[in-house]
């Protein structure tokens, strides 16, 4: 990929070359060199970033997700992510779909084709007393295109991007034409949201993509009683498609063509991966209290409640949510709860109780968002890592896993149920808004070999020969066999007070020491039993100029960014830490002890993983690349950040693309 990152400021400083409207007077030599030195990414087939922006409630999600699916069905890889406000209707949101025939795991900060559903998508809200953004017109790459509503009556100078192809189209006029064809022209108010589909069709025409694949993907979104609506939408898209073909010359340089997929692939996002893993693991009860961005996962589970006999309970608060799940785990089923930072804060006391009473769970899925407090409720951040490791008073065992993408989220969530029951402690799976909502093409995940391990359960037969059953028996491993309530002979007590082997309260000092050691020993056991291959991933050559260190959802951008660095001759490798507790100290030491230049990359203010590595191994990072504006790193930001660090010696680079 002939890719050179271009920062926001560089994009703005591009010298206008000539005015081009609707693809006329398109001159390939007028783009490619910018700012005298930066070489722009040359348009190549099957490598496009497509963005649709508009007011919330304007239907950008359905169009973008349909586009992503249509690309995937044509054999292309996609990476799609959304930015939206904590608002129901009206605020600006945008959905970015990157499509390529190469593997892509992240987004870039430029736009090759922008669909503006409204004026704000172009210019932002700078006219307001308290403006919040400047729109996307300056993010469009030279030679890229903008589809906008001709009814806005904008002149090319208004848009101010003579280096960009402009495609004004009268949205409502085209939509009315489509509706008229099917006898619905009198119902414009009912169907006007379908302007989004008209623009979608227009974009397909510019990209020269196969309209039939798109039509099938649209129809797939409208099944059963809604099938007729599917036809209406296909027709609207076709009218947009034809408008472009009829009114503009074919000169848009970014093209998408279906290729033959090597294997069947899914378009999956994090909440679906986690949900599927819960079904596979045998989760019987999911509890939650509504919170962005975690709720989507519970709704996904509820959608399949009849297929998998899962009970999903909306609790009165997160305190109740975690404790219902802990009670269910003690009672003998696999249970989980999902939340975000504010809810997890409320859960901390319950997590302590679950661990202290050696409950076989619950599995807690933490979809981080930008905190503290309400923070940026619809934006991403990796700000809760240290909190997860220290949440609640006192010292108690817990397992914390941080998958880096949807596939890892599936496998780590599956494992978390096995570990919760085997080691009888809560397991926290740390994810974030970016992973929750970003779609990615993935091969169908291998799930047949996944085996449920329920740990040591005392059956009625076992208990018949054990008249003095001890639920908290001291053992070499720290694990005691658990009886399930309802089992004859297994009666036990459990208490959040310190307790003896039977679960009765005692303040005996020797017992306290033994019980603390028993519980904490289980973390050591988990450290020994969980294979290193799950605890951390290492990518790239053993010896490298730069060693990148990160965790969680930054994985995709780091892996993609590494390719750009390698193209520049910078040899780099990447340590992705996945288990936060038990922490793979030896493994991390092995990879980092001899690393030449260690660069920490985190989506937070303080570099929390860096602190943990220092605490556990004594190794200090040489520099940091951080981002805490509520948005995820892009591929080009990884490149830019590393350049700042390696060429300019910046110890702490703070990235800020929106």
């Amino acid at each position: 990929m002939n890719l050179r990152p271009l920062s926001h400021s560089v994009l703005r400083s591009l010298a206008p070359t000539s005015v081009r409207l609707g693809g006329r007077s398109f001159k390939p030599d007028s783009w490619g060199v910018a700012n005298n030195q930066e070489v722009w990414n040359l348009p190549e087939e099957n490598n496009v970033t497509w963005v649709i922006g508009g007011p919330q409630g304007g239907g950008i999600n359905s169009v973008a997700e349909t586009f992503a699916k249509a690309c995937a069905r044509g054999g292309l890889n996609i990476f799609a992510n959304i930015e939206y406000h904590s608002n129901i209707k009206g605020e600006h949101s945008f959905y970015r779909v990157r499509a390529s025939d190469k593997e892509i795991r992240s987004h870039v900060d430029w736009i090759d084709l922008l669909i503006a559903l409204d004026k704000e998508t172009l210019f932002g809200d700078i006219h307001k007393e308290f403006p919040t953004h400047e729109g996307h017109r300056n993010e469009v790459s030279p030679g890229g295109g903008i589809i906008y509503d001709a009814a806005l009556k904008l002149k090319a100078e208004d848009i101010g991007r003579p280096d960009v192809n402009l495609y004004p189209m009268p949205y409502m006029e085209v939509l009315v034409g489509a509706l008229k064809e099917q006898g619905h022209e009198k119902e414009l108010s009912k169907y006007q949201v379908m302007a989004n589909t008209v623009t979608f069709g227009a974009s397909i025409a510019l990209l020269d993509y196969d309209f039939n694949i798109v039509a099938d993907s649209i129809k797939q979104g409208f099944t059963g009683r809604k099938a007729a609506l599917g036809d209406l939408n296909v027709n609207a898209a076709r009218h947009g498609y034809e408008y472009i073909k009829k009114n503009f010359a074919d000169g848009f340089p970014y093209k998408l063509n279906p290729i033959k997929p090597t294997q069947k692939r899914m378009v999956m996002r994090g909440v679906q991966a986690v949900g599927a893993a819960k079904f596979k693991a045998g989760c019987a009860l999911q509890t939650y209290y509504p919170i962005t961005p975690a709720t989507d996962e519970s709704e996904f589970l509820e959608h399949y409640e009849k297929d998998y006999n899962i009970v999903v309970v909306q609790a009165e608060d997160e305190i109740s949510a975690i404790l219902m799940a802990a009670g269910a785990a003690h009672a003998g089923v696999r249970a989980s709860t999902s939340t975000s930072g504010p809810g997890f804060s409320l859960m901390s006391e319950g997590m302590g109780w679950a661990s202290h009473t050696e409950a076989p769970g619950p599995v807690i899925i933490l979809w981080q968002r930008a905190g503290p407090s309400t923070g940026l409720p619809t934006r991403t951040e990796q700000g809760d890592l240290q909190f997860v490791l220290h949440a609640a008073h006192g010292e108690f065992p817990r397992i914390a896993i941080a998958p880096g993408d949807a596939a890892e989220a599936f496998y780590d969530t599956f494992d978390s149920f096995n570990y919760a029951e085997k080691f009888q402690m809560p397991v926290v799976v740390i994810l974030d808004k970016f992973l929750a909502s970003s779609y990615q093409t993935l091969p169908i995940l291998e799930s047949l070999d996944l085996k449920v391990d329920r740990g040591q359960i005392a059956t009625e037969a076992d208990l018949a020969t054990n008249p003095a059953y001890k639920r908290y028996e001291f053992t070499a491993t720290g694990i005691s066999s658990r009886a399930l309530p309802g089992t004859r002979g297994g009666i036990f007590r459990t208490t959040g007070d310190e307790h003896d082997e039977f679960g009765h309260i005692t303040e005996n000092s020797e017992n306290r020491v033994k019980m603390m050691q028993k519980r904490m020993r289980k973390v050591q056991l988990a450290a020994e039993m969980i294979p290193d291959t799950k605890k951390a991933n290492f990518f790239g050559p053993v010896q490298a100029d730069v060693t990148l260190v990160g965790w969680g959802s930054t994985k995709g951008a780091i892996l993609d960014g590494m390719q750009d660095l390698e193209a520049d001759g910078i040899r780099c490798n990447f340590l992705q830490v996945r288990y936060m507790n038990p922490f793979p100290s030896e493994l991390v030491t092995k990879y980092l002890a001899s690393a030449r230049k260690k660069i920490l990359i985190e989506n937070n203010y303080s570099g929390q993983l860096g602190s943990i590595i220092r605490e556990k191994t004594g190794i200090t990072m040489d520099s940091k690349i951080l981002k805490y504006n509520g948005r995820q790193f892009s591929q080009n930001e990884i490149y830019e950040g590393i350049e700042e660090s390696t060429k300019n010696g910046v110890k702490e680079a703070v990235m800020a693309h929106a």
Binding site: A72, K264, R265, M266, V267, M268, Q272, A276, F279, K280, A281, G282, C283, A284, L285, T287, Y304, K306, D307, Y308, N309, I310, V311, V313, A315, E316, I319, A321, L323, M324, A325, A326, G327, A328, A329, H330, A331, G332, V333, R334, G350, W353, I444, L445, S447, V452, L484, P485, G486, T487, R488, G489, G490, I491, F492, R493, T495, G496, H504, I505
Partner: protein, 309 residues
């Protein structure tokens, strides 16, 4: 053959001598015995406070949970294994104060369980502060000044929350309490049994003598039994909203009687679909087999993956 002693444990009991908790403990053990419930089929959940220790003294599965949080844990356990008889016990501070949100919402769901609240108007284990049930203006001996906030009315709150069995009894009338508990456990749905109880250490107002009315001019006991006055709180036709509302209002009116005449007994009862039944209306297998007995561990997720292609 089960005997009463099969419901007792040998765990040292550290409640104060003369504590009302003993009456409640005995009544629970006697009720379980008389109902012939197998100890291993019963799970008792408690919060924090003196009453929180109850599970250690009853020979059933026992969960001593967090302050105010027994109901969510009991809810989760019951949903996991609907075959369990679930009883929660707690103090008035635990249930009506720190746990008030769970108290209300568990009743809304009408989970099939029994909630026994030790209502002695004070926080015992933290040495005598006002509980949410202490009437405004009252001052017990360890308080420096009288209470300046209203007391909660547990009976009225439970009825508006959605409890479908709402009763009150008295810890020192073990026979009455035992019968109420049996009816509460048999009731399908959320049952609240608010138990008036003496705290000989910290509550020097609502004492055994106070309840007996010895200082009243009439010398008549303050407590009287609703069932002895011809009061009927049972809804006969649950579909008749007029009857349901009338029975609720009647019970709430009764619940505000205090001071010289305090009613105990069954205030309100209405057979409604339980939370478990409502879940089963969406997931039919839930009604037939408890989740703990279902094989959920060999699921095939390939249809989900297929739908994402």
């Amino acid at each position: 053959m089960l005997e009463l002693k099969d419901y007792r444990t040998k765990v040292h009991n550290d409640w104060c001598p003369g504590c009302g908790d003993f009456g409640i403990l005995n009544a629970i053990q006697m009720a379980l015995f008389e109902m012939k419930l197998e100890p291993h089929d019963v799970a008792i959940f408690s919060g924090i406070g003196c009453s929180g220790k109850t599970p250690h003294f009853v020979n059933t599965y026992g969960f001593h949970t967090l302050h105010g949080r027994s109901l969510p844990i009991a809810t989760g356990a019951k949903l996991a294994n609907t075959a369990l008889t679930v009883i929660a016990v707690g103090g008035d501070g635990d249930g009506y104060g720190i746990g008030a949100g769970h108290f209300v919402n568990t009743g809304r769901r009408n989970l099939d369980f029994t909630y026994v609240v030790h209502d002695n108007q004070v926080y015992g284990l933290t040495k005598g502060q006002a509980a949410p049930t202490l009437p405004k203006g009252e001052k017990t001996k360890s308080m420096s000044a009288p209470a300046i906030v209203q007391a909660i009315n547990p009976i009225a709150t439970a009825i508006t929350a959605g409890y479908t069995f709402v009763a009150r009894s008295y810890a020192l009338d073990v026979r009455h309490l035992k019968e109420i508990l049996k009816a509460a456990v048999l009731h399908k749905g959320s049952a609240l049994v608010d138990v008036l109880q003496t705290c000989p250490t910290y509550n020097d107002i609502n004492t055994k003598e106070w309840y007996a009315g010895t200082e009243l001019p009439s010398k008549a006991p303050r407590l009287y039994k609703l069932e002895e006055t011809g009061y009927d709180g049972v809804v006969k036709n649950s579909d008749d909203m007029n009857e349901v509302n009338q029975k609720k209002l009647q019970a709430m009116a009764k619940s505000f009687e205090w001071d010289e005449k305090i009613p105990i007994g069954l205030f309100y009862r209405n057979q409604q679909p339980t939370f478990e039944e409502m879940i089963a209306s969406r997931i039919p297998v839930f009604k037939e087999v408890p989740l703990t007995k279902q094989d959920l561990y060999h699921r095939d997720v390939s249809p989900i993956f297929e739908s994402l292609t």
